[in-house]
Symmetry: C2
């Protein structure tokens, strides 16, 4: 059942050549007689030869595999990023190992170790919600393996980043709410130690301050990034008997969770409560009323991250200064505000 793999030696012995000659021919070494080369290529084809990339990488001490680690693959945002990464890597001749931490720091640590052991040429990662330190990423830097962080970036590490300007995006979005006449604006915030949610919260506060609106801590509900968090967040607002006239949610999933509950309570969007999300998920334009939100470009973020990584990989010897790429966002005004 298990067929032995065809190697350059097999090709060589078929043609009474030495395997090094075959190796050279396959890599277009100028030494080789075109006639010989032709015969070698034909024989390779006919024997169904596939080069052993592991052996190549092993010998050359360079791999063409890149690691990608995200919290959850099956979230729109990350699936988009991964797709963007994949396309760029494909064009550049790299393959990609994908891991998901499931928001667990322990798993993320194991994943990154495995990636180092697998000799990845570089790593693109969005850290998990429970990741507080970056020690496991410093391994990469110590070993000179290029690193690109995106979306959620940890403190305490200097590396290439691909992020959106969460602060200003949130600021402008909330500013827009205020301009539209809303005053009591609640915020369904994300985890406070995650960069993106922390910055969106800061943007929210800054916009209120700028407009001389008092920040009411009771209107800021901390939760996670998921739909349930939106539901429970809005429940808390109800329970406190403290309904705002607008809600800014940390992302569209949370907004969608709140959305359902708002309607269930017989409240009209946006007349009774306006709703603003972040992320522009596919569902957001389908909601009725459709959701006003901040559009990120996750696919593009992935492309940019992959390009940055490849750049580093292919100029590994040169001194490389980490830089941060900020992907533009866009406020998409729909009918929920």
């Amino acid at each position: 059942m298990i067929k032995k793999q065809v190697t350059i030696k097999d090709i060589a012995s078929r043609l009474n050549l030495h395997h090094t000659t075959v190796s050279k021919a396959l890599r277009n070494h100028p030494d080789i007689n075109p006639e010989t080369k032709k015969r070698i290529l034909e024989t390779a084809e006919s024997l169904d030869y596939h080069p052993n990339i592991m052996a190549q990488s092993f010998k050359n001490k360079k791999s063409n595999t890149v690691g990608v680690c995200v919290p959850i693959i099956n979230l729109d945002f990350f699936a988009e990023v991964i797709s963007g990464i994949q396309n760029v890597l494909y064009d550049a001749g790299y393959t990609m190992i994908v891991c998901q931490s499931n928001e667990s720091y322990e798993r993320e640590e194991i994943d990154t170790r495995a990636l180092v052991s697998n000799q990845v040429a570089g790593l693109i990662i969005a850290i998990s919600q429970t990741t507080q330190y970056a020690e496991h990423l410093k391994v990469f830097q110590r070993r000179g393996i290029p690193l690109v962080l995106f979306d959620r970036v940890p403190a305490g590490i200097e590396a290439c980043n691909v992020i959106v300007d969460d602060f200003h995006s949130a600021f402008h979005a909330v500013q827009y709410l205020i301009k539209s006449g809303y005053r009591r604006i609640a915020h369904l915030a994300g985890p406070s130690h995650i960069s993106v949610s922390a910055n969106r919260l800061k943007g929210y506060k800054a916009a209120l301050k700028k407009n001389n609106i008092d920040i009411e801590e009771s209107l800021i509900i901390h939760g996670g990034f998921r739909e349930e968090d939106g539901t429970s967040g809005f429940e808390q607002l109800i329970a406190a008997g403290n309904l705002p006239d607008a809600i800014f949610a940390v992302n569209d999933s949370v907004a969608a969770g709140a959305f359902l509950l708002i309607k269930k309570n017989g409240l009209k969007i946006p007349d009774d409560i306006a709703l603003l999300g972040f992320g522009d998920l596919k569902i957001s334009s389908y909601l009725e009323p459709s959701l006003t939100t901040v559009r990120q470009s996750p696919h593009r973020m992935g492309e940019i991250a992959a390009k940055m990584l490849i750049e580093q990989i292919e100029h590994k010897d040169e001194k490389f200064t980490p830089r941060t790429e900020i992907v533009k966002t866009e406020l998409i005004i729909r009918h929920s505000t």
Copy 2:
């Protein structure tokens, strides 16, 4: 900048041992003195040793990497499947290389070649829309590399499959429409050479036949799997002046495309036209009215596919009979019908 990697030889020379002793210790070989082993493990830790898995796999002629190839990563369905695969592979100690064909046969062929060259231990694949032959997959079988096909399966190859029963799922769904009183039921069908869409079409026809309803070819519109296809499909129905009283769409994306246009035309769902999808995307429950659809369990499909693959990989020597696993679907009745 580029730090040389730490090898078992480094550990060995530190301790004045031979590198094979270190190798054995790291793999818990019973030969090794517990005391020695302890020192070796400590030294490995302190030197920040990471085993070179490529060298291991190379030497052992077995890899712990599996290939996964889907048409498009950033489609709900495939992202879910990939996530399911990843979790199972993680638990079993495998890593996964992910490719996307972007619905191109050429790219799929290149991807699969690359996976063979990368010495994957197995392959899980859903073929692209433009893939008509399975020759590129037979390479895996010739080389004894386990193979699992899911969702879209090509003809002409005998391998493990993980699919849903598209025929019966569609049959029951359409049967339900008929029972609800709809008679003129259109079908926005997918590509006719893809197994899933072909089978859903067959199920649709069978249900009509069973109920003595004539099949009107003009009510069957062929298109792709995307939202645009739903929009253009419904346009064709309008153009033909041939509005049905219900539409069965090949999947939820197509249904969503039709959905928007139906409402745009001032028609009421389900009173003027009922709408039935397939797949139960996240958006489907958010539509208003919410979409009746057939729930697949893509995450579970991924888990099953990964388990089947691992089973094959780990019993490679034994004769393995390809089997087909059919994942149960469920008709989710909501308000669009």
